[in-house]
Symmetry: C2
Subunit: 321 residues, 2 copies
């Protein structure tokens, strides 16, 4: 009975979400983020309404001005009449829980604009959960009719690379003077860049980072798309129009070259595997918890009687019986 | 026949590794990182030899001087006769592939010291692979008789939180002047700190970060261990003795309070679940690839006929038959 109510509730919320109801959107996102059955059902119903939004990943080191840049870009999209979603996956983001009062005040014009929807994601959670949850949140915002979804993450590590898989266009931000210049330019993160931005370009040291990025990118292979290197001063809204135009050019390139279609398939595969992985583990765990097998194996590893690989094989074997 | 050779080879390598052979250690790590069956076998044989090393996580934003600090700390441990392993999970680390010549030269005294073993990890890989691989590499170094293993990662995102689970003591580095000061102090990352370090403390702005950290930590809950806030200037080897002593005090606290035992169990659980998750997915994929089911489902998601959750359920259901 509860299940049927839940199921009816989800369908009702989905209809309201598709009709533009922001409250319904918030509710669906909560269901989705928490992995509730209603969230899964909503995703199923919403999925055929997706594929229209342009997803822009914005990444860079802590303190590089990601949120300010995302905010400025959102304002520029709003001036052009586009609906904007912002997903903040960065614990230091003003959009995120850890925000300071000052940051929140600076963002107030955005949070009070009905054409901007902001969602913060926790960066802690279940194994492999963040990338899955981010994908799902982006899917919901896409179905809700956002024209552009900005996904803001701290640039480092595997999370970001996985989240870059979610994005059509990945903007990587660099800043002058964060430690040794060349060390601040991260080889791993440059590889995922479709557009490079030197933010805080009003600082004198910016020119040096800009030149180094040019040298670095000249060495990189160029496969159809030449990565533009732009200068911005997001807190003064400088260079934002150029950034928006670079995003649009990249979108056009993706469509014309057939890369968008490839990305769609690539992203489908990643999503399938991430979700399957989590589902499989949940299934095995539910059973292993019930019969006490999980605790036995944990104890055996802690006591160094079993290595984790052997224990995992037994966990899986036991659940399959 | 190949399998038996492989199996014999792994056992032989394990014996040589336990006897202190560095070449055997390198080989075993390669097997382990690549997920070869020989690596899994070696882990099984080595596991009962682990549990002695103290694992120190070192994390912080890009350009904060992590590698320099890890290097300085390693030198101080060497002066005290301890064997040190360094695992670099940061693409910008001089220990890592992306290193510049100058960084490598500065680290030369470490790389030529037979009492120091350095291993770099790629930050890209299979889903959930990095945390699993890092755990496995640390396990091998522990078994190889390192007294201390320093695990160096960029501080942000879930990877680092998972890798912090590997460490007994987590050192979080902050630096002056990386963007807005308070924004550089990351709420999420502070939560995992056992020791806080203000590196580059010879810079004038350091005092402000130091004070802000004190204010921040005074607000935090204190559960038995008061997180020390230290000042270092790693490139001048200043404050390193104090850092080493703080690590030793934390180790003593963990042992006396029973926390070390709790961590062992917690870590065992994480390792078991990470490995099981990867194993489960590999099993399902092997079958789905063979019968073409995987490509069918990927196409259906790409065409928006099926959402990823429904497709994943079919993938798992299909493999179970």
């Amino acid at each position: 009975m509860t299940r049927r109510q839940g199921s009816g509730q989800a369908s009702d919320l989905v209809q309201r979400l598709l009709a533009g109801d922001r409250w319904a959107l918030t509710r669906v996102l909560t269901f989705v983020e928490n992995g509730y059955p209603e969230g899964r059902q909503a995703l199923g119903e919403l999925f055929s309404h997706t594929g229209r939004a342009h997803i822009v990943g914005i990444t860079g080191p802590t303190g590089c001005g990601k949120s300010t840049l995302a905010g400025a870009l959102a304002r520029e999209y709003r001036r052009r009449g586009a609906k904007v979603g912002i997903v903040a996956v960065d614990p230091t983001s003003p959009f995120s829980h850890g925000a300071l009062l000052g940051d929140r005040i600076r963002m107030q014009d955005l949070t009070s604009d009905p054409g901007v929807f902001i969602r913060s994601m926790a960066t802690r959670g279940a194994l492999g959960g963040l990338a899955v949850a981010t994908n799902d949140v982006v899917t919901v915002l896409d179905a809700a009719g956002e024209d552009v979804v900005l996904v803001e993450t701290v640039g480092a590590g595997q999370d970001e690379v996985e989240i870059a898989d979610t994005a059509h266009t990945t903007v990587v931000i660099n800043i002058p003077g964060a430690g040794d210049d060349m060390q601040a330019i991260k080889a791993g993160i440059l590889e995922i860049a479709d557009i490079l931005v030197v933010n805080k370009a009003d600082q004198p040291a910016a020119e040096s980072v800009y030149k180094q990025l040019h040298i670095f990118m000249d060495l990189a292979r160029n496969e159809g798309w030449e990565v533009p290197i732009l200068k911005t001063a997001a807190h003064k809204e400088q260079g934002i129009v150029e950034l928006l135009e670079a995003v649009s050019r990249h979108r056009a390139y993706l469509t014309e070259s057939g890369r968008l279609e490839e990305m769609r398939r690539h992203r489908a595969r990643r999503q399938l595997l991430s979700v399957a992985q989590r589902m499989l583990l949940e299934g095995v765990l539910a059973q292993a918890r019930e019969n006490g097998r999980l605790e036995e194996l944990v104890e055996a590893i802690a006591a160094r009687e079993l290595d984790p690989h052997t224990a995992a094989a037994r966990l899986i074997g036991g659940a399959a019986q």
